[in-house]
């Protein structure tokens, strides 16, 4: 029926209209994906990177600040490079690199910016700035990197680097995004949350070519970036600089602490590196070179190196013995060099002289009295009780455990406990005669330079210490927040320190005369770390002045021989520098003595 066809045609038209309305209903009303896609299209989220907090020294001198660098970004869709060779020349890259970088950017997005060339310095950028505009599709974006006015304190400060995939996965707060920078070691890592600040975001409307067309919703959702907080470090910049200078060409470390506060005044690792090497474009290359260096500049010796404490440990033995009442200051012990060797002219020293002359037999006997107190039947069982008591004291002194310094990667050192010997000799198959090397700080004992500096601090405080730290306060834009560090007691009565400290004072007047500073009474102790196959390490530990101490210090110089030598000389110079502000001209010879010794040859 031909006449019916007019209805068929009209129905067809209406059906098409209904199909359209149905399809439109599904994409406009039912499906919210398109709204999201539309926002992603036009809303360009521009991250405002916050200014990372500064790190200042104890006198508010800048140790770390930020410097602008320029990332060259590329929008592949807009790229017009008439002369590739000239462009490559400008950025000092090869044409292969150019192709690879362009390809990578294209894979990310045709119309969104991606990083083409990172971190041109201000000077580099100034050179190419005028010529860069000739090339369409390339945009400089300013951001900042860390800058160190003085190339010092590298290991204490640590460095920042791009956040790793693993860190991104573990970041439950979702703060970090790919490409963000994060503190990787040292203060930068420990105080990351203070330093990083808060990212801001600007939502901008962009057209298909990524050209901005104003702010989204009049900036209602925009947030300003909040700069990171500044850290007030405990470091004395001048002292640190001088200490690093003195450690030039030597392997070792220095830790100087203000005893009354636990503030670390100097923190030297040698050899170290210029921290500027790990900031900026050549981070990767420089890092791998530093990592390969056989002298290990990245190894943070002040808190990671572990040495046998040697004679320095006799001070600890004295204090424990006095507290335990197994010796009194007047106790005399015959220097029987048949049991253990000794040196110097003394035969029957009291405690004072035993410390002064570092009498090995005296402390052999003292340690025997500590360990074998006869509290329990059977010598082996008794030694277990005695060693446990001794362990507890050492733990209170901060040995064999982390002191809790405010930067990561601190080593514990080693203080053997009964379990340790049980493992090697079986349970109750050992006693004092098995472990007597501990009496003079040898044997299995291991301590870090920080722990020894802390010991100097304990001696200076006559019995307690404040947890050592590198950052004392946080400077926010509207307030200053002082960080509280806990005070630890050693359990030794302060009266017992008199003899020990007096003897230490005489050491500087005697064997370690090179450390002596006019008008400042220094209490110190040499420690020679014996090595089986190479030169001894020179170690010295001191605090000064003897009354009202201002600085406690430990110095380790590897393979530099006797402790009364270079280590003592450096200690004296640093004490003089810190307390007097400068080294007297009549002591320049000491500085020369330190500087002319290139101990690296001894390795």
């Amino acid at each position: 029926m031909i006449e019916n066809r007019k209805y068929i045609i009209q129905v067809l038209i209406v059906v098409v209209g209904i199909v359209f309305l149905g399809k439109l209903f599904s994409i406009q009303v039912m499906d919210s994906r398109y709204k999201l896609a539309a926002e992603n299209n036009v809303i360009n989220k521009v991250v405002q990177y916050p200014y990372r907090g500064l790190i200042l020294d104890r006198n508010n001198k800048i140790i770390v600040h930020n410097t602008p660098v320029y990332d060259i970004m590329v929008v592949p869709k807009e790229v017009e490079v008439p002369d590739t060779a000239a462009f490559c020349n400008l950025l000092n890259i090869t044409e292969e690199e150019f192709t690879a970088k362009t390809q990578k950017a294209k894979q990310y997005s045709y119309i969104k910016q991606s990083l083409f060339y990172p971190q041109l310095s201000n000077e580099e950028f100034a050179k190419i700035q005028t010529r860069l505009v000739e090339y369409k599709g390339f945009y400089p974006v300013a951001r900042t990197v860390r800058k160190y006015p003085e190339p010092i304190l590298a290991n204490g400060l640590g460095y920042i680097g791009e956040v790793s995939k693993r860190q991104l996965q573990r970041d439950t707060t979702n703060y970090y995004k790919q490409g963000d920078f994060i503190g990787i070691s040292g203060i930068e890592a420990a105080y990351e949350e203070e330093l990083r600040g808060k990212r801001g975001v600007k939502y901008k409307l962009v057209n298909v070519r990524g050209i901005e067309k104003g702010s989204f919703n009049d900036g209602k959702f925009d947030t300003l970036s909040v700069p990171g907080n500044n850290l007030i470090s405990t470091i004395d910049l001048d002292l640190q600089k001088y200490a690093e200078y003195l450690m030039d060409d030597k392997v070792g470390s220095i830790v100087a602490i203000e005893p009354s506060t636990g503030e670390i005044l100097a923190f030297v690792n040698s050899p170290s590196y210029d921290p500027n090497l790990l900031a900026g474009r050549n981070y990767g290359k420089n890092f791998s070179e530093l990592n390969k260096d056989t002298l290990k500049p990245l190894f943070n010796r002040p808190i990671m190196a572990q040495y046998r404490p040697g004679s320095v440990f006799k001070l600890v033995q004295s204090l424990i013995a006095l507290q335990e009442g197994v010796v009194v200051p007047s106790t005399r012990i015959v220097c029987n060099r048949g049991i253990i060797n000794c040196h110097g002219s003394h035969t029957n020293a009291d405690l004072h002289d035993a410390i002064k002359y570092s009498c090995n037999p005296y402390f052999y006997q003292t340690f025997k009295r500590i360990v074998q107190q006869g509290k329990v039947e059977g010598m082996n069982k008794d030694a277990r009780v005695g060693l446990t008591t001794w362990n507890n004291y050492l733990s209170d002194f901060g040995f064999g455990r982390r002191l809790g310094i405010d930067i990561p990667n601190e080593s514990t050192g080693l203080v053997p406990d009964p379990g340790y010997y049980d493992y090697y000799y079986q349970k109750d198959h050992w006693n004092f005669y098995t472990i007597y090397s501990l009496s003079i700080g040898e044997g299995e004992l291991l301590t870090t330079p920080l722990q020894v500096a802390n010991l100097a601090s304990i001696l200076a405080n006559r019995g307690h210490y404040i947890r050592p730290h590198m950052v004392k306060g946080i400077d926010t834009p509207d307030s200053y927040y002082k960080i509280q560090y806990d005070r630890q007691e050693t359990g030794i009565d302060s009266v017992h320190f008199t003899t020990v400290v007096d003897a230490m004072g005489e050491i500087v007047d005697g064997t370690a005369r090179v450390a002596r500073v006019k008008d400042i009474q220094i209490a110190g102790k040499t420690g020679t770390v014996q090595n089986k196959n190479s030169f001894d390490h020179s170690a010295f530990m001191a605090f000064a002045p003897k009354e009202n101490p201002q600085i406690a210090i430990s110095v380790y110089v590897e393979n530099a021989g006797w402790g009364g030598g270079v280590a003592a000389a450096i200690t004296g110079l640093l004490i003089e520098k810190y307390i007097k502000g400068e080294v007297a001209s009549n002591r320049v010879w000491v500085e020369n003595y330190v500087m002319t010794k290139a101990y690296l040859n001894n390795l």
Binding site: R5, K6, I13, V14, G17, F25, Y34, K35, G214
Partner: protein, 423 residues
Amino acid sequence: MRRQDSIWNRVDWLIITVFFILVILGWLNIYAVVYDAEESQNIFSLDLNSGKQLAFIAGSLIIIIAIMILDSKFFESFAYYIFALIIVLLILVLTPLGTEIAGNQSWFTIGSFRLQPSEFGKFATALAVAKYFSSRNVRLDRFTEQIKSSLFVLVPLSLIVLQGDVGTAMVFISFIIVYYREGLPSFYVITGLSAAVIFILTLLVDQLYLTIGVIMLATIIIVINNKRLKNIGITILVGVVVIGVIQSVDYVISDVLKPHQQNRLKALVNPDADPLGYGWNVTQSKIAIGSGGTFGKGFLEGTQTKFDFVPEQSTDFIFCTIGEEHGWAGSFVLIVLFLVLMVRIIFLAERQKSNFARIYGYAVAGIFFFHFGINIGMTIGLFPVAGIPLPFFSYGGSSLWSFTILLFVLVKLDAHRMQVLTR
């Protein structure tokens, strides 16, 4: 007794009203596309597409008046001459006299204006087809008549394909509606539709499954309907043909179609496969329309179309702006307006006493229907991308004028329907 009242009392005001609503909405919408909040713009500025479109609208008013003044017999009398003129122009545009724009050799450039003869080819063909069918008793059930009459469509269609403008050429297929109404056996329509359905299915479904499906379907038909041997034979024959079509689709796609046409088909089937490449247009178009939601973002508040994410936004993809700024509600109004227009055209066609006017009316309805269907269909991902305008909405003088002429010639014919003696 002859009534002496003005022609304006006899025209169909409903269709004229719908026409003006569509034209004005179209004009505002073009302003929305070019609108830039950061610049102070005047909707009337001739620097903007909106200003130019207003000039085109003014031009179409002159055309309307001219059509109304002309004798109603003019179009029937001069149908073949107009058709011949357009055919000549369609040939000339292929010579160096024509201008090539975006790969289509479809334009004459006269000063700062451009004219697209293929736009008027639709009108001319409508006239010629109407004249041919009305001037003699064409028996469309005869094969020779089918061939002869189809030349009116196939000649301009081929010329337009030669210009490279497949989209416009596709519109000429709309004349099948006229032929169908005038008695073309259903067989052709059903075959054509079935081929299209099978073609699309082949793109969507794996060829092997489709072949198995056809065999199973044929078997079921034979089992249920096994009374007559002849039916079984026909079923098997049809099944074999269908499987042949399925197997040939790959050849057609890869060897007959141009790469960009292949991509448009791929984008229709799976725009997500390459959203930044061949899927870009469809993906962005759907994002723009979809982001409009139920009530849209508001007039001039669209972002997708304004910031150039949607290609050809003032011409072929103009519907995106409506979808984005006015949402489903706006789309609903627009689609209903077009449905009213098309159904009204058919109503007018059916009430004609002259065959010429009736056939012409169906041609107009078919042309509007194809533009409407293909254009909106492609923006919402129901039809491959084909560059044809949405009547009255897409920016451009040629298109606006050609639709105005198409429509108002029908209005003119309708106004004089009582003066025609029934044959």
